[in-house]
Symmetry: C2
Subunit: 318 residues, 2 copies
């Protein structure tokens, strides 16, 4: 296994996971086209199994394990979409999964992960505490650690969503993908540049969680002391060690948007497209609707990934 993912890895991943994932539909909206000033193609990963694109990377990683490794199971730490995705991917292969979650994680998310049959182990909330618990479980069980983004199989798996989008709409000139740890945009950029090297790749981040934008500005990985946003899927303090060089090589620019922009874009997609996206997915939409992005010349057709739909329905976001 090479340490760096390539276009070939994305193609291989697409073949490997095809029997297990949804080929999600591509949506369009005349209303959003009018507001963006160009044609937008929305890859509907909110309809992916487990409710987000994370199921692609998790499935690719789980299916790539040989029989002996698979029998020992998988482990990760995540209180979000990756935890749900890995739990379901493991159950679908019939192997055990352990998800390390901070004791203060939401009951809704714990219930979703438990509902997919995974074992939940509590840890302290800090990253070192969570990683220590994962290491402890690995030592005891021999389980394979599948991190949320810094893993070549995970990156290649996420790229398959872009591959499908470009197969369906080959005239797309640019892709916009949100960035947390960078797994999604890394896979997207590998897939797109392999498919057609002229496709331009743009990142999308909340102003309050803009590790990638800041890293791009200084040319090296920046660590944030704090990351805050309603886009809870993007609250990474830094982009990954594996994802950073892919981002630096392939991503033209990372746009940042305000919390108000995110909430407005989310409501617009709910109201006009009838798709229940989570705030993280609205970040890319908000970029497409921003004055800065509208001002870019050309780019008649732009692809956006609606990355997930796992959102608490106990409250509204506006």
């Amino acid at each position: 296994m090479s340490n760096l993912s390539t276009y070939a890895d994305v193609l291989t991943a697409a073949e490997r996971i095809r029997p297990f994932v949804q080929r999600t539909p591509v949506f369009t909206s005349e209303t959003l086209d009018a507001r963006a000033g160009r044609r937008l193609f929305f890859k509907g990963e909110l309809l992916q199994k487990s409710g987000s694109f994370k199921y692609r990377g998790a499935t690719n990683a789980v299916r790539r394990l040989d029989a002996d490794a698979a029998a020992r199971g998988v482990v990760t730490h995540s209180s979000g979409n990756h935890g749900q995705a890995l739990a379901l991917a493991a159950r679908t292969r019939g192997i055990p999964a352990t998800i390390v979650m901070p004791a203060n994680a939401s009951a809704v998310k714990s219930a979703a992960i438990a509902g997919y049959g995974a074992k939940i182990v509590e840890s302290g909330p800090s990253l070192p505490e969570r990683e220590a618990k994962v290491a402890e479980i690995q030592a005891a069980t021999g389980a394979a650690y599948i991190p949320p983004f810094d893993h070549p199989d995970v990156i290649a798996g996420q790229g398959t969503a872009a591959l499908e989008l470009l197969q369906d709409e080959p005239g797309i000139a640019a892709l916009i993908a949100p960035i947390g740890g960078g797994g999604l945009i890394s896979g997207f950029s590998l897939a797109a540049k392999g498919f057609n090297p002229t496709i331009r790749i743009f990142g999308a981040e909340p102003v309050g969680a803009s590790a990638a934008a800041q890293s791009m500005a200084v040319g090296e990985r920046v660590k944030l002391s704090v990351a805050t946003s309603i886009a809870d899927g993007l609250l990474a303090n830094y982009v990954g060690l594996m994802t950073w060089p892919i981002i630096a090589a392939n991503v033209e620019r990372v746009f940042t948007v305000s919390e108000e922009d995110i909430a407005n874009a989310m409501r617009l997609v709910w109201e006009r497209m009838k798709l229940l996206i989570e705030p993280s997915a609205a970040v890319g939409v908000a970029v497409a609707l921003s004055d800065e992005f509208r001002a870019l010349p050309g780019l008649e057709k732009v692809g956006i990934v609606l990355c997930g739909g796992n959102v608490t329905l106990d409250k509204l976001y506006w």
Copy 2:
């Protein structure tokens, strides 16, 4: 123009409106299948233009007008989905539309209809007041009156959604459709019985707006003194003069569900299917999940129409 719609009318309507309507996707959900005890196929009419299936009937009626009639425009009274649908269908043909709305209609709905370019005329809230205003406009302009359900072109147009669903999933053994005035289920039953006479047709109504269920019970049209439900698209006091004989001939049974059942089904579809259905669409889902419907033997594959997604996002419904 015959007074009674037939399967041939549905087939003709499908050809006529094909260039103008969305062929909406069919969705499935393992979670909902498990709760229903059978496989469910959801026709995604919430993604139809104007946000509901009503665009099919309105488009069929508008496109069927000859050039002279079309030039005089169309008129209806509706504060809901039919008003939006007719406004957009008229704009798409480039003819004027006038929508009569009670003065107390919601600002959101007025704005949507005005946004589609229609002229809005206020009337008193009662049906006689609304009908008098329509007659006045007809006399002044020669506009064609396109009622929300009691019109053969409207009924045939709505049936095209069922035709598409059955073409995509020919093994469907039964359809569930919500009933307000009965236009949707009339069209569905004509399409389904023409496609395959063994397909069983079931209606779905809120307990508080169950004109069709009560009419079926006594064998003639029952007029409700009051109809109340969160499913505001189904608040008809009676089924139509044209839809009633079609319903009586083709619908096996009308199930009623409580407001709590409707809200629970709506939340379940939002949470698990990520589709922003309106309460009226949840009524059919609630029937499929009910103990009574689950108890029906056979019916391995059942089709349900998610009829619309026009819902106020200023509040939650649970």
